[in-house]
């Protein structure tokens, strides 16, 4: 990639990277630092970028690694254990979902373990396929799908109007989660 490649990369991806960093870290300052560090690392490793078409995934991967490195030794916050959370949310939700408050979304994301948060963020940016997410996280695609299903179920319960903050004053997570079992054939995450 020519020397002007980094400027092109910045223009093309800095906004998405910042948003990703913000959703991962939950902090504007951390997001800015992570974005800057990502491009710093990218400059040093630019010759390793063999396929410019994969630049977006490459940059997202660098950013996530930097984030994980930062929080490795930190217990930033109490995360909700999702072992008890099923793949499915309540069924009584046949109504139009109102607008979600981005701050509440961030609060809910912060409560999620990174292993569930990252696929959710990448999924809802709708720029990464399941396969892309699996490559980002070095996971089997089935595991990614399973985590997504569980993470979405949690968020839906957490953010649905009847389960808003008013109904969850202690912020300890959803009380109405049902450990509804998924189909037997997908218990390992592979449909």
């Amino acid at each position: 990639m020519p020397s002007g490649g980094l400027h092109h990369l910045i223009d093309a991806h800095y906004e998405a990277l910042y948003r990703y960093a913000y959703r991962l870290s939950g902090s504007a300052a951390d997001a800015e630092d992570l974005t800057q560090e990502t491009f710093g690392k990218a400059l040093a490793r630019l010759p390793q970028l063999r396929e410019p078409d994969r630049a977006r995934a490459w940059l997202f991967r660098i950013l996530r690694n930097l984030y994980l490195h930062k929080v490795r030794d930190q217990k930033r916050h109490k995360v909700v254990p999702l072992d008890a959370v099923g793949d499915l949310a309540d069924r009584d939700t046949d109504q139009e979902m109102p607008e979600i408050d981005p701050a509440k979304l961030q609060q809910a994301l912060n409560e999620l373990d990174e292993a569930f948060r990252t696929p959710i963020i990448l999924f809802y940016f709708e720029e990464f396929s399941y396969r892309d997410i699996a490559e980002q996280m070095d996971l089997p695609i089935g595991t990614v799908m399973s985590r997504l299903a569980r993470g979405k179920a949690y968020l839906r319960n957490r953010l649905a109007p009847e389960h808003g903050t008013d109904n969850d004053p202690d912020g300890t997570g959803p009380r109405h989660e049902k450990a509804a079992p998924g189909p037997k054939k997908v218990t390992d995450g592979v449909p």
């Binding site: 400059l43 069924r91 979600i100 940016f125």
Partner: protein, 246 residues
Amino acid sequence: MECRDAQFYLRLRRHTTDELGPDVAGTLEGHLAICPACAADGRAAVSFDRALTAAMRAVPVPSGLREKLFTQAASAQGAVLRHKLYRTGGLVTAAVLLIGIGFGVFSSTRPKADSELLTRTATDQANDPAGSVGRFLAAKKLPDRLPMPFDYDLLVHVGTDEVQGQQVPVVVFRSSNGDSGFAKVYIFKSDSRFDLRGLQDAQGSHARAQVLVGQDKFRGATYVFVHTGRDLKPFLLNRNGGGNPA
């Protein structure tokens, strides 16, 4: 497809690019068409995904971030370029130093050509060939002239040749006949040994060799005349006189 499966797939269905594949997607759509509960779930899932996508992307990007990133990139690239420049400069300097040192060593160990001396010698030889031969021989502690009346206008060279492992003074004349003939006069000190046959052979099959052991004024030297032609007449002043060493 059962409701339980349908609900699972509804969570994984993407509404822009469906990655479930045509088989699963088709079966799921078929089930939603006949199951009002799952169809309601499907609508709710679509609605939830839409709301969550909008909220997920609702992150204001700081206005100065782009400029910060460009400044940081320029600074980092400058540092990289400087690093490369310093490294290249260092290599060039090292190469120049090595070449300089090598040249210095070569120059200091190489025998220096004394151009002034060479010029003086050549001029001297051209202006006073007999005198230059005499001074050369005297410098070698030999009789200061040759025992034969050579025509010094035919002088070609005066110096030393390596003969059978020793440096021997030699005076070379060209032939007055205008051909490529030559006469070389090697002057050995009397106590030195040499192989006359080998000396003759070294000059070519057409050369002859004669030896004159110095007497009187020429005592202490042995002269070996190697020449083309039958005798030395073409190289002497009195070319009509005797052509053999006295």
